[in-house]
């Protein structure tokens, strides 16, 4: 197992670096950089601009800048943010938690609803309740999440029931812990719902399909022939097999954890990495953009690896194949 992981990592690292190189080149291709905005300010002297150039190494050739960046990576130095004037690591750390919470909430919500729903739909296949669920699922699948977010914000504005975006109420600092938590949760609801509904529809469909596949297998018939109670047949024998393929999905969910929420964050004014990325891209804050992309790529690799390892652990057949 260890060798397998190592091999995957060895292949993955150049891919991640390749991706960052691509990003770097893209950011460099665009005419103009951060300094242009400063140059336009007549009060800033040539000296200061020269000083900035040196500090950010903008006078060196492109390739050298990139090598320098990669070199710094190994020292866990992610560069400096031009726009915020503090190290990139600090900028990201500030927003990381917010995005993480939102993604985690949406992930948990999605899986806790979709899996039971899918199982239930499979068990009541083709009855009217199943048909209803499939119908709504299809609609929700086609609803873009940003549209959902807008509609929810609209409803919120009409009913004054939920806050309209942002992460804190205006009086946040003065609230005690309990009220603060409630306030935070209330702000979390709309973005989480907008993110989750499409995923729930998709996941439910997959779960239902897997469950139906498994239920038609011989070993389910054999389990019943052994005299096992129906509950055990379904929730132990069937479910255990139906859920295996979903584990790979888990890995992909993990990869999309930080970037999936980006658009919704921007719409709901949730101060996370998504809105950060938007600002960074707009102001051509190179190192911030690269760091974000790097994180995305790394999470993707880790997520995939996680999915593969989990699958191997759960399905003995795969373990066996890999050994040989």
């Amino acid at each position: 197992m260890g060798r397998y992981i190592l091999k995957r990592l060895l292949v993955a690292i150049p891919m991640v670096l390749g991706m960052t190189l691509l990003t770097f080149i893209l950011m460099q291709i665009t005419p103009g950089n951060f300094l242009d905005t400063i140059r336009m300010d007549p009060q800033v002297s040539e000296e200061t601009i020269g000083h900035y150039q040196k500090m950010y190494q903008l006078d060196k050739p492109m390739f050298q800048q990139y090598i320098h960046w990669v070199y710094n990576l190994f020292h866990l130095e992610f560069g400096y943010s031009f726009y915020f004037n503090i190290p990139v690591a600090k900028v990201i750390a500030g927003r990381l938690f917010n995005t993480f919470v939102l993604s985690l909430a949406s992930f948990l919500f999605t899986w806790m609803i979709a899996i039971p729903l899918g199982i239930w739909a499979a068990l009541h296949r083709n009855r009217w309740i199943d048909r209803c669920i499939q119908f709504f699922s299809f609609i929700c699948l086609s609803l873009p999440s940003f549209l959902l977010a807008l509609v929810f914000l609209f409803l919120a504005s009409q009913t004054n029931f939920l806050p309209l975006g942002g992460m804190h109420g205006p009086d946040f600092e003065n609230m005690n812990f309990f009220v603060r938590s409630m306030d935070f949760l209330k702000h979390l609801i709309i973005p989480t719902l907008a993110l989750s509904i499409g995923s729930i529809a998709a996941l439910q469909k997959i779960m239902r399909g897997n469950m139906l596949d498994v239920l038609s297998q011989q070993y389910i018939l054999a389990a019943r022939a052994k005299g096992l109670p129906e509950d055990r047949v379904i929730y132990w024998h069937a479910l255990r097999n139906a859920i295996n393929p979903l584990v790979t999905l888990l890995g992909y969910e993990f990869s999309g954890l930080l970037s999936g929420a980006a658009l919704i964050e921007i719409i709901c004014s949730w101060p996370g990495l998504g809105s950060l990325m938007l600002t960074a891209v707009r102001s051509k804050d190179i190192y911030l953009v690269m760091a974000n992309m790097l994180m995305g790529g790394v999470l993707f690799i880790i997520g995939n690896l996680l999915a593969d390892v989990l699958l191997a652990k759960l399905d003995p057949r795969i373990r066996y194949d890999k050994k040989h």
Binding site: M15, F154, S157, G260, L263, V289, G296, F300
Partner: protein, 364 residues
């Protein structure tokens, strides 16, 4: 008794069973209507997309009346004037003294039909003095209905052009990778994975940032198309590569090889035609991605810019919370996006289902 057997391709068979599915046909008709609306947007809309009148900012939909004091008089509207109430909110007073009949085939803003023929003919309209807002006005008093029709031109075409480019690239990459296998396949698939590895939205933003700021709207349009294609080709390439890999082992390919046909001819004449049917289904299912990608970009201001309309940037008005509450009609473009996406999804799904039994039978 002799039977006449027609020679039908896989695709035609699938098309036949497709036609039997009423829902799918319905969706196809919806899309047809949308695209027709986009092509003839100039004629169908009462006003040009640029036609603004700040006196009618955020004017609610104008109610079209048919009866005056119980008598049928045909469709007409009243004039509206903008006033502010005590909370500085907009209130529109209706002026019931004068009727403005709603006429068909009126003369209105100038345009060029299909880009060539100058004309001033519009399907519906009213005289000067009142403005017909079928679903409301935006911040500058521009008719939202007209802008939705014009917006269709951009939103719907980006989907088609983008997918065309992606598909071409994907076809070549996937075809070569699937056909040759080995290290070529390996390298190409790693490349695909690298592109797919990047979080989609981030890549979208980063690529958009690479576009110079001084691009005009047309250039931005093409830049967006290129960006979306750049993200999308990898997925299609993988699908095609998978199909090619399995087709490669078929007997007729071996037969063609033994006859000495060049690789290129084999790919072109024997393998690719079989991928067509399944590819079309895959293409239908990926078009929504492009439409949504453009909408997302325009929504946050990085896509199509004012004064041009796209469904995405029409929605960006909604980003201000105050406006959502008092001008909810701004959400209408979203309905159109949704209908388009769901129609493509239904058509793609149905097409794939129709092809499946045939794929399964072939594999045996």
């Amino acid at each position: 008794m002799t039977r006449n057997t027609e020679h039908v391709s896989e695709f035609q068979l699938a098309l036949r069973s497709f036609k039997k599915n009423r829902l799918a046909v319905c969706c196809a008709m919806i899309l047809f209507i949308f695209y027709a609306g986009a092509i003839f947007a100039d004629f169908l809309s009462p006003y040009s997309y640029r036609n603004e009148d700040r006196n009618y900012s955020y004017c609610p939909p104008t109610p079209v009346r048919f009866f005056d004091e119980g008598k049928w008089v045909g469709p007409y509207i009243y004039g509206q004037t903008l006033t502010f109430n005590e909370f500085y909110r907009r209130v529109y007073q209706t002026d019931t003294t004068r009727r403005f009949p709603v006429r068909l085939f009126v003369q209105g803003d100038e345009y060029k039909l299909l880009g060539l023929i100058p004309s001033r003919l519009h399907l519906v309209g009213v005289q000067e003095g009142a403005r017909l807002y079928l679903i409301g006005a935006d911040s500058r008093g521009r008719d939202l209905w007209s802008r939705i029709l014009y917006g269709a031109q951009i939103s719907l075409s980006i989907g088609l052009i983008g997918v065309l480019i992606s598909f071409s690239i994907g076809l070549i990459v996937g075809g070569v990778a699937g056909f040759y296998g080995g290290w070529i396949d390996n390298v190409l698939m790693r490349l695909c994975e690298m592109v797919m590895m990047v979080p989609g939205f981030y890549l979208l933003l980063a690529l958009r940032a690479a576009v110079p700021d001084d691009f005009n709207s047309v250039q931005i349009y093409f830049a967006i198309v290129v960006i979306l294609s750049f993200i999308g080709w990898a997925g299609l390439a993988r699908i095609i590569r998978g199909m090619c890999l399995s087709l490669r082992e078929r007997e007729y390919v071996l037969a063609a090889k033994s006859l000495g046909l060049s690789d290129f001819k084999i790919i072109l004449r024997h393998i690719l035609p079989h991928t067509v049917s399944y590819s079309i289904a895959a293409v239908m299912l990926s078009i929504p991605g492009y439409i949504l990608g453009e909408s997302a970009l325009s929504l946050i201001g990085l896509g199509i810019q004012d004064p041009y309309a796209s469904w995405g940037n029409l929605l960006s008005d909604n980003m201000s919370i105050v406006r959502i509450k008092f001008a909810p009609w701004i959400l209408w473009p979203g309905v159109f996006i949704f209908l388009t996406v769901i129609s493509f999804n239904i058509i793609g799904d149905t097409l794939r289902d129709c092809l499946d039994p045939m794929m399964k039978a072939e594999r045996k």
